[in-house]
Symmetry: C2
Subunit: 220 residues, 2 copies
DNA sequence: AATTAATTTTAGACAAAACTAAAAAATTGT
DNA sequence: ACAATTTTTTAGTTTTGTCTAAAATTAATT
């Protein structure tokens, strides 16, 4: 597999929405910043290698083989993201570009040992699940606090608004990525939410609640 | 810089012996498992970009610009090797192939943070020096114990004989890569050497002494 | 249903990096 | 010194991945 083939496979997987619907040539071209004609060429090649199912003018879907390739690249991408954040102190919004390169390093031993070194994480810094060696992953849910019912619990994994002002606000209120929160109460009147944090429980406004993503850990 | 260009630059640097003598087309071809004609093509391209000085039939030498590129790749290669050994528990003889890929990842921030995470190492797992950001490095010396005078001190960084038997012997005598040794006495009669180790001093035969490399740390 | 618009594919070209075969230059041995 | 050998370069292809321009197909609108 060349680097370019791997990126196409990954893009097709992402655009297919868990491999359920067929992906349009133009959609791939747009996502990858190439021309539709280039996509057609590549898709033909991937079809030759039976990594995708493709019929002219009908769009494209990953084969089972292709799906496993996609998941192995996604696994590498997300493990590297965890490494960059946990070990090298990158912030969660800087890691994607670098992981885009690291995901193509070819060495099974490397990924196994990296996985172990990171303590077999289940989720990347953006709250997205990390497939295991066989491409199995727990389809986790990432939701805004404002969308959750009372009693929900999850790990804070992202923000909608990444302005300096908002991040400063979070800091002041001792809210950080990686923290576990529980929704204690929702105020009907103004939509504000009371959540439990490390340092006791606090109430956050509806505006804040619509800007914080929780990763709901699907208990196994 | 493409991956291929980077590998050529690095190879030319290594073959030029600290950039002192001009490198033959055939030597590059042999080292890189390509044909001489391919090398000529690439060398012309590198010359266009003024990364090398090249005149037909005269061999090639890195320009100052090229030398700095070479050193930045070597820096990355060796830092990744340290990471693989120190953090991921690879053994020192497994890391080269993987580092050969990792050295091409493009991100200054990544290398800075990796360097910090590793504690700013000066030397890679094979005892080779790690250039700093500006391409400066202490030209360190790697020598067999049998070649050292009494009083020499250094870090054990490699073996000549990597047979299981020899490695087992080292293990039994509590000699490991990364240990610091000092030459205490050399026996004229049989060439055996007394060295100080973690666990006191031991005498090793001439045969052992000709199979262990020490990295002599050039005090600055 | 027919025309128009959008999407997708084909045809032909190009740059990067490799190759083979043959020509040119440098080196070596007598 | 000059023929033989080795090294290096040139010329012409190939593969991979991209592009533009034009043709084919499908989708949307009157
Ligand atoms: Mn990528
Ligand atoms: Mn991610
Ligand atoms: Mn390399
Ligand atoms: Mn090394």
């Amino acid at each position: 597999m060349t680097l370019s083939e791997e990126d196409y496979i990954k893009t097709i997987y992402h655009l297919s929405d868990f491999n359920s619907k067929s992906v349009a040539t133009n959609a791939i071209a747009e996502q990858m910043n190439t021309k539709p004609s280039s996509v057609t060429d590549m898709v033909k090649k991937l079809s030759e290698k039976s990594l995708v199912n493709y019929k002219k003018y009908q769009g494209v879907l990953l084969s089972e083989k292709g799906r496993l390739v996609a998941l192995s690249i996604i696994r590498k991408h997300r493990l590297w993201e965890v490494f960059l954040v946990d070990k090298l102190n990158f912030s969660w919004d800087e890691v994607h570009v670098v992981a885009e390169q690291l995901e193509h390093i070819k060495s099974d031993a490397l990924i196994d040992k990296l996985d172990a070194h990171l303590g077999y994480p289940k989720v990347d810094p953006h709250g997205d699940p990390i497939p295991n060696k066989d491409g199995v992953f727990t389809k986790s849910v990432k939701k805004l606090i404002s969308e959750l019912p009372v009693g929900s619990q999850g790990v804070c994994v992202g923000v909608n608004d990444s302005s300096a002002a908002f991040l400063k606000f979070l800091d002041k209120n001792k809210i950080a990525l990686g923290d576990t929160f529980k929704v204690l109460e929702i105020e009907e009147f103004d939509g504000s939410v009371t959540i439990s944090t490390r340092s006791g429980s606090i109430r956050i406004s509806k505006q804040i609640a619509t800007n914080l993503f929780l990763e709901i850990v699907d208990e196994e």
